[in-house]
């Protein structure tokens, strides 16, 4: 019954990947001119990943578990001990988060409940609740918004590490699960856990895809499907871009061997429940109103052939060099090339199809969405939008050799990430009133 729509979605995924690949060519010239040495945080992420990949490859089960635990603990310590600088190569790359952290007035306008207003905005309701809670805990001072952002980043990091441990437990410490964890430490998303003053990166889950695929492969009495959906819903509650992950999970579930609709509905139901159950708490327990964030209307999409003005900035049409270059830069920086590499090297049709379907909403969104602050300043949102990264590293974790090659691709992705952040040629130009 689902054969035709699934085939159509797979074709759409292939077309989306082809568009991304074409855009890399336009972006490469810009990115190559702004290559900078990656900061210590990228080196630590790649180093931890390399260490784990090598140990997993040669050690016994017991040593593998010990080494994985030790490296994850060391990674957790590094996330706290080595925070990101607020600027890289003279560029502030953390979007508006730094402004909110440095100005109490702006922070309270962005998160009304932090200023005592009984209302919370829907866009990133759980992320805002967390920030407001920490801000209140630290006395609502001038410094507490900054503490709140840093705490959110660390909490996201520990949630990420917890999800990786969950994958290892559910998959019983298999070598593949450990390789997945090893590669996960090197994805560019982890940069967000080193004290990134934003919320968008919280929308991606590290465990949702492996758990979903595990439940599709084994018809045992586990709860991997429900846990995976619930985790993705939790991330969507932190930031609404997690809806792309939920949509990807529902699409991937349609590739199940049997009971496709049941699997997709169950995954979607658990994800939406974890996404929305918080509203009951806000309204019934706290007595707050849930509002539409005026800034959530500030999402612009590129038109195919016509440019348009949006919030005093020019949105170039999709069929223009500038738009294609921006799509390519974003795509290179967040690791879409790894998905292509992993799809090419995959053996299992089920895994390959599920991965492409899982990545599809994010791939399409990255083509049509116009990052309002510019690619280099909206990195948290771009990272959060590409849920397919976890599918890519799952595919790449199939053998030690492919995982090793994927690590090299990820090292290049880190260099490109920071090159895109350092680039100034594609900055947004504000038009005077």
């Amino acid at each position: 019954m689902m054969r035709v729509p699934v085939t159509a979605a797979l074709l759409a995924g292939a077309v989306a990947l082809a568009v991304h690949a074409a855009a890399w060519g336009a972006a490469a010239g810009v990115v190559a001119k702004s290559v900078h040495p990656p900061p210590l945080q990228s080196a630590l992420a790649l180093g931890g990943s390399a260490l784990l990949l090598r140990v997993v490859n040669v050690a016994s089960h017991r040593r593998r578990m010990l080494a994985t635990g030790a490296i994850l603990v060391a990674f957790g310590i590094a996330m706290v001990a080595v925070p990101l600088d607020l600027q890289f190569a003279g560029n502030g790359f953390m979007g508006d988060g730094v402004d909110y952290a440095l100005s109490r007035d702006k922070f309270e306008r962005n998160i009304p409940v932090a200023g005592g207003n009984p209302e919370i905005q829907f866009k990133s309701h759980l992320g805002d609740l967390f920030l407001a809670g920490v801000d209140r805990m630290f006395g609502r001072t001038e410094d507490s918004p900054g503490i709140a952002y840093r705490t959110l980043s660390r909490a996201g990091g520990f949630l990420f590490l917890g999800e990786l441990l969950l994958v290892i437990v559910v998959l019983r410490g298999s070598r593949r699960a450990c390789r997945y964890v090893g590669l996960a430490l090197a994805i560019p998303l982890v940069i967000g856990f080193f004290g990134y003053y934003e919320v968008g990166y919280m929308s991606a889950s590290a465990a949702a895809f492996p758990l979903l695929l595990h439940s599709m492969r084994r018809r045992t009495q586990g709860h991997a499907l429900e846990i995976g959906g619930g985790l993705q819903g939790l991330h969507a509650a932190f930031h609404g871009f997690g809806l792309l992950g939920i949509a990807g999970g529902v699409l991937a579930a349609l590739r199940d061997r049997d009971r496709q609709i049941w699997t997709a509905c169950r995954y979607g139901a658990f994800a939406l429940a974890a996404y929305l159950v918080w509203l009951l708490v806000y309204i019934v327990v706290f007595g707050w109103s849930v509002m539409s964030d005026p800034y959530s209307g500030h999402i612009a999409f590129r038109h195919l052939t016509t440019s348009a003005y949006f919030d005093r900035r020019l949105v170039h049409q999709l069929l223009s060099w500038r738009a294609v270059t921006e799509v390519g830069m974003a795509s290179l920086a967040i690791g879409v090339p790894l998905l292509v590499f992993a799809l090419v090297r995959a053996k299992s049709r089920l895994e390959r199809h599920a991965s492409l379907l899982y990545a599809l909403p994010g791939l399409l969104f990255l083509v049509v969405w116009w990052p309002s602050a510019g690619v280099g300043h909206d990195m948290d949102l771009l990272l959060g939008a590409f849920a397919g990264m976890s599918a890519a590293i799952w595919l790449a974790s199939r053998t030690p050799r492919i995982a090793f090659q994927a690590w090299i691709v990820l090292a290049v992705v880190h260099v490109m990430f920071w090159a895109v952040v350092a680039d100034r040629t594609m900055e947004r130009i504000w038009i005077a009133q």
Binding site: A32, V35, H36, P37, P38, P39, L40, S42, A43, L44, L46, G47, G48, S49, A50, L51, L53, R54, V55, N57, V58, A59, S60, R63, T399, P400, R401, A403, F404, A411
Partner: protein, 88 residues
């Protein structure tokens, strides 16, 4: 060729040569005494080097599976490549 000479040539090509070029780049671009891009590239490559080299002695050979390792000589050249690309 005597083994000492051969080993010296290998060491020169693997470490000394890129190190000399990196030092030359650092000396040539020492604006205010600090070519601020050289150290980050060397640190980045150094951390990668340590990460790939550290677990070499951890496992008994019977458990050794397919080789996944990056030759040690790669990292000095990565540092040099980064420095040269950045300078351009």
């Amino acid at each position: 060729m005597p083994s000492v000479l051969r080993d010296s040539a290998i060491l020169l090509a693997q470490v000394a040569l890129p190190a000399i070029v990196i030092l030359f780049a650092a000396w040539r671009d020492r604006y205010d005494g600090k070519p601020d891009y050289v150290v980050p590239w060397v640190v980045f490559a150094g951390i990668m080097w340590v990460a790939w080299a550290l677990p070499v002695g951890l496992s008994p050979p019977r458990l050794r599976r397919s080789r996944i390792e990056i030759p040690h000589w790669v990292w000095p050249w990565v540092a040099l490549g980064g420095v040269l690309v950045f300078r351009r």
